[in-house]
Each structure stands twice: as structure tokens, then as C-alpha cells.
Amino acid sequence: MNFLPYVVAAYLLVIGLYGMVTSRNLIHMVVCLSVVQSSTYVVLLSIGYRLDATAPIFVDIPVGTRAVDPIVQALMTDVVIGVTVSALLLALAVQVHKRSGTLDPNGLSSLKG
């Protein structure tokens, strides 16, 4: 099952997108966006993985030991960034609820200028 991690990533992407499109609640939509985002983590970590390899941290193992790719792992800083962006979106949801009294995206069809 060499392709299973990629299947998981594709599944997370598609199910998250489906959730966003059919969402009836803005908070649910933000959570769905996080699911879509997590699919990128799965695909990046899967690409960088090497069988029988260790973490690219050479503090107690000699340089040259078979290690996984460090470059894709460095992109995982986005996990922390993603949380703050979710917070921003949730603050927007709070604002929307205050202005229109609803969190249902369908109830926002009339944009007020």
C-alpha cells in the first residue's frame, strides 16, 4: 500500500472542500478549511518520508545516517500559522453574527453596502 498516505491526503482535501461548500454554519466552514489545510501537511510529510530513515537531527547519530527530507518538514511551521489564521476567520464569524444575526452563509445573500 505505497499510495495510501496520498489517498488520505486527497480524501482530506475533497471531504474538506465538500464540507465548505455544503456548510450551513460559518464556524463549521472554518473547521472544514482546517481539514483542507491538514491535507497539505499529510502530502508534504508523505513525500519527504524515506523508509528505514530517522529524523534529520544529528545530535546523537553521525552525519550521513539515512534521514528523512528536512525541507518539507521545515514547512510544518504552517501548523502554528494556520491556527492564528483560523482565529482571524472566527473573529470574522463573530462580526458577521453581530451584523446579520446569523451564521448561516445562505442568510447572507443580501450584501449590505
Partner: protein, 253 residues
């Protein structure tokens, strides 16, 4: 747009996406056999070039330090935006928001939760600082350590000490820390530009790999990011908590 129209648009789009997704997935390397040249190269020369034994940290804060600066500013902008949105809203509020469940009172905090949370505050701070300071040696770093540090004020809140949270993290100090963290990252980059020819140049002595004081600016940048992340998360936390407490407080008065 009605939901049936939206679903139709989605399924047409999804069909297109599926084609590209399958095409892209088919082109991915076999799982477990990735042979990315740059990754292999950095694993070989990274320790020697940067003195950081954690190659991931070397990539994040040295080889692509400029990119990480942009990431830190995404965080900065998101925190700033959240604070602006929630504060503006509190100020313009004219009518008190209605508490939907007036008869529901928050339950009293149990003593066990209280004592446990208060007892964990100091270890959380210590562990957070440890994770930040050892980012160049072992797994961890500014981003992870900053989040751990931000749990300390949260534990104060969980212990029922909202006043304690404010004492532990006064707003002015948190705001200053957030700005300082983001600015010192840029500052380190500019010093690199001044002392050599390139922005983000690692201008400090590298030291011996494995030592706590080694890897030059990677250590400094970890602290800058740790400060910005910790302050950012505490700021987010207090903004959302104040939002809740204010609404709750008003409807009781």
C-alpha cells in the same frame, strides 16, 4: 445562490479538480523512496555549515530564513486583524448582547482542576523556554515553544483566575512582546545585511555543533519567533476571552 445551484457548481468544479488531482498524485514519488537532491545534500552538509544539529531548524531559520520571516508576518497580521475586529466590535456595541441561557451559570471550578492548573503554570513556562532554547539541537524551536509558553496564561484562566491571567500577561507587555518578536527577526536579518552582503546572513560565531550556545543567529531567531508566537497566542486568547466575559458580564448586570 441557492444550495442546489451551489452544489451543481461544486460538482462541476470537483470533476475538474479530480482530473488534476489524479494527474498530480500519479506524478508523486513512490512513498518512502523520496530522493530529493536538496534534502539529501542538506542532511550531509547542514551540520557543518550551520552548527545546528536539527537540520529542520537550519532550513527554517537559515537556508530559508527569509521565507520564515514572511510566515511570521502572516501570524503577526492575523493576530493584529483578530484584535482589531474584536476590539472595534466591543467599542461600538450599543445594546448589551443577549445571553441566550440566562439561567445557566458557569459551574464552580473544582479544587482539583484549580490546583492542578496553578501547579502546571511554572512547568509550562520552563518547558516552553526549554523547547525554544533547544530548537537548533533537538525537535522544537520558536514556533512550538511559543505555543507551549502561551499555555501558561491559559492554565491561569482554567484555574479560575482571570485576574491572574491579566497579571501574568498585562496587555501592554503582550503587545510590546508581539511587536518586539516580529521586529527583532527583521533586525537580525538587517544586521546580517550590514555586516555582510546578504539579508539574513548568519553573522554570529557558529560554535560547536551540539552546544547550547551554537549555530549563531538560528538560536536568536528561535527566541524572536518564540516571543512573537507566545505573545500572539496570548493576545488571541485574551481577546476572545474578553469578548465572552464582557457579554456574560453585561447580561448579568
Amino acid at each position: 445562490m441557492s444550495s442546489s445551484v451551489r452544489s451543481t457548481v461544486f460538482f462541476i468544479g470537483a470533476a475538474g479538480l479530480a482530473v488534476f488531482l489524479l494527474w498530480g498524485l500519479a506524478g508523486l514519488p513512490d512513498f518512502g523512496n523520496f530522493r530529493g537532491d536538496y534534502g539529501l545534500l542538506l542532511n550531509r552538509v547542514g551540520v557543518e555549515q550551520t552548527s545546528a544539529t536539527n537540520i529542520v531548524a537550519a532550513v527554517t531559520f537559515d537556508y530559508r530564513g527569509f521565507d520564515t520571516m514572511a510566515e511570521e508576518f502572516i501570524l503577526f497580521a492575523a493576530v493584529l486583524g483578530t484584535a482589531l475586529l474584536l476590539r472595534a466590535q466591543r467599542e461600538e456595541e450599543e445594546e448589551p448582547a443577549e445571553d441566550m441561557a440566562q439561567d445557566r451559570r458557569p459551574p464552580h471550578d473544582s479544587d482539583a482542576v484549580r490546583e492542578l492548573c496553578l501547579g502546571l503554570v511554572a512547568p509550562a513556562v520552563l518547558f516552553g523556554l526549554y523547547v525554544v532554547a533547544h530548537g537548533h539541537l533537538s525537535p522544537g524551536g520558536g514556533f512550538q515553544g511559543g505555543v507551549v509558553l502561551a499555555t501558561a496564561p491559559l492554565l491561569m484562566y482554567l484555574a479560575g483566575e482571570y485576574a491572574g491571567l491579566r497579571t501574568l500577561s498585562p496587555r501592554t507587555v503582550v503587545e510590546l512582546a508581539e511587536g518586539t518578536g516580529a521586529a527583532s527577526y527583521v533586525g537580525v536579518g538587517l544586521v546580517g545585511l550590514g555586516t555582510s552582503v546578504s539579508f539574513m546572513k548568519n553573522f554570529l560565531p557558529l560554535g560547536r555543533p551540539g552546544d547550547l550556545l551554537s549555530s549563531g543567529t538560528i538560536l536568536i531567531l528561535n527566541f524572536a519567533v518564540g516571543l512573537a508566537v507566545a505573545a500572539g497566542f496570548v493576545l488571541l486568547l485574551t481577546e476572545f476571552l474578553e469578548q465572552t466575559l464582557e457579554v456574560r458580564g453585561r447580561s448579568r448586570a
